[in-house]
Amino acid sequence: MEHTLSLEEVRHVARLARLVFKPEEEEMFRQQLSRILDHVQRLNELDTSRVQPTFHVVPLKNVMRRDETRPCLPRDEVLANAPDAQGGFFRVPKITEG
């Protein structure tokens, strides 16, 4: 089955990822992403009616730690890689919520 993504869908996922593309890039990604989806679609041809859903690939469960505190990172190290900091805070451009 051929899965054809629309340009609008490409723009939507780009917007969600905060990416901006040129028109020719949009068309390129439309074709590439469509091909990827088509490829993944092939899995639907398998009969999985007798297969348990896999939520996690590692065969472990209930891995937990005790509620104990440990020393934190010193603040100069916390902020060492911050592009911008002030008064112990990370300083970022103001973004309206959303």
Partner: protein
């Protein structure tokens, strides 16, 4: 709201669990520390780190879910909720999407109506953004990640709530239950309990839901009530005019008492949830869950029944007292020290609630100790102060933190029970009010109370009313 419409309300409540360390790392959860001093590579979302689930957070979430009558699911997992906002350095929040920890609970309201709880799930809290000056004109946000990774439970109700009063009742009960089992201090002012409300209106009798709006930025239970009332009114008016309600998030503006749309046209939320590969699933041992159920502390309903049984309180008193654990504890300690459960209940529900209300204080901020109220009650029982004066003394105790003995001493408030001291005042009041005396003698009972009142006034409330009564009767009858 006009009688034409009914509201449909659902509440999402986020509660911080009071564990020592964060949900996925070993940073402490203490409130009010210097910015970015309670963080590590895990909660800062640095590359290559591995989150590990805090067992105590799971235990507390299970306690809460069981106390809210939920089923603990046999298979739960964590998911990444993706969004870009600087309160989360990873650009995703670890939450639970389609397989939450618990489902299908309920809370019973005062009238016996049950509000369904759809789900309870675990997630991590986000950091805090602060702004210098006015938020609208600020050029920068300042991010503090101390709160990032503090364990939260989100409790999602079914849309069973029909008016703002039910919403307030639901929240009060929810907070009472969580405080009773001790999983959170539920302080709205510190953000350890937060409420978002979904609300829509529909014509009475309709079974379909109207378009809903989501209310955010609600700072108190009173604000929930006011915000919902405003929003119901606003939506009803729109429907009356034949205009559509727009599905959107609206902020409650406490100062102006209105809700506001923050954004114009908004893209539908799309969080692109996917399973968190760094955390393995939870398949809780049913025996462990049963052990937690067996050892749950006394819940408000059970405590209420015990108050009725043990202290002989009316249902109403018991209900009000247990709605707040700090108050219920205060009450029980007073009764242990003083006895007379109904007297204590009258003081707590009357004077103490009035003062808390007037001062806008939450019960958990109460500094007054049970032993202090008990000293005052003993002074009243022994006739050292009159009942009227006791109320004034109590108010001073509440405001200043002074003990009752020193207040009574300082302001010379000891009750006057000495007949020889009161006799001249009684005679004076009789002499000054001949008309009232005549009224009384001709059968007007209220006239007597007036004369007692005059003697009380002359002693600034210090006269022993029983003695004044006796003296007046002796003179007039």
């Amino acid at each position: 709201m006009s009688g034409k419409y009914e509201a449909v309300i659902g509440l999402e409540v986020h509660v911080e669990l009071n564990t020592k360390s964060k949900i996925f790392c070993s940073c402490p959860t203490e409130f009010g520390k210097e910015p970015n001093t309670q963080v590590c590579p895990v909660c800062l979302g640095l590359p290559g780190v591995l989150p590990v689930l805090n067992e105590e957070a799971v235990r507390k979430a299970v306690q809460a879910a069981l106390a809210l009558n939920c089923e603990i699911t046999s298979y739960a997992k964590f998911d990444r909720k993706n969004y870009f906002y600087p309160d989360l350095p990873k650009a995703y929040q670890i939450s639970q999407y389609d397989l939450p920890l618990a489902r299908n609970g309920w809370i019973e309201l005062s009238g016996g109506k049950r509000i369904g709880i759809r789900r309870v799930h675990l997630e991590e809290d986000a950091g805090k953004l602060v702004h210098q000056g006015d938020i609208t004109s600020a050029a920068f946000s300042f991010a503090d990640y101390n709160r990032c990774g503090v364990p939260l439970i989100e409790i999602v109700s079914e849309p069973d709530i029909r008016d703002p009063e039910e919403a307030r009742d639901y929240l009060t009960r929810l907070k009472g239950i969580l405080q009773h089992i001790g999983v959170s201090d539920c302080r709205m002012e510190e953000g350890s309990l937060r409420v978002d409300a979904n609300v829509s209106v529909r014509p009475v009798g309709s079974r379909e839901f109207g378009t809903r709006t989501e209310l955010k930025n609600i700072g108190s239970f009173r604000a929930v009530y006011r915000g919902l009332s405003y929003e119901i009114e606003r939506q009803s008016k729109l429907l009356d005019r034949g205009e559509p309600v727009i599905q959107e998030t609206r902020h409650w503006d406490e100062q102006n008492g209105v809700t506001r749309s923050l954004r114009g046209k908004e893209e539908a939320q799309d969080y692109r949830y996917f399973p968190e590969p760094d955390l393995v699933p939870l398949q809780l041992d049913p025996d462990w869950v049963e052990e937690i159920r067996r050892t749950l502390p006394e819940l408000p309903e059970a405590r209420k029944a015990r108050f009725v049984r043990e202290y002989g309180l009316p249902e109403y008193d018991a209900d009000v007292l247990v709605s707040s654990p700090p108050i219920a504890n205060f009450y029980e300690e007073c009764v242990r020290l003083f006895g007379e459960p109904k007297t204590v209940s009258n003081w707590v529900m009357g004077e103490l609630f009035r003062l808390l209300n007037d001062s806008g204080m939450e019960p958990e901020e109460l500094k007054l100790r049970p032993s202090e109220l008990v000293s005052l009650l003993k002074m009243t029982r022994e006739g050292v102060v009159s009942g009227k004066i006791a109320k004034d003394v109590f108010e001073q105790m509440f405001r200043t933190g002074e003990d009752p003995e020193s207040i009574v001493k300082k302001h010379n408030l000891v009750q006057i029970s000495d007949k020889s001291a009161l006799e001249p005042l009684v005679l004076q009041v009789i002499a000054e009010n001949p008309k009232v005396v005549d009224d009384y003698k001709s059968g007007k009972k209220q006239a007597f109370a007036f004369l007692v009142g005059q003697v009380m006034k002359a002693t600034k409330g210090r006269a022993n009313p029983a003695v004044v009564n006796e003296l007046l009767h002796k003179r007039l009858d």
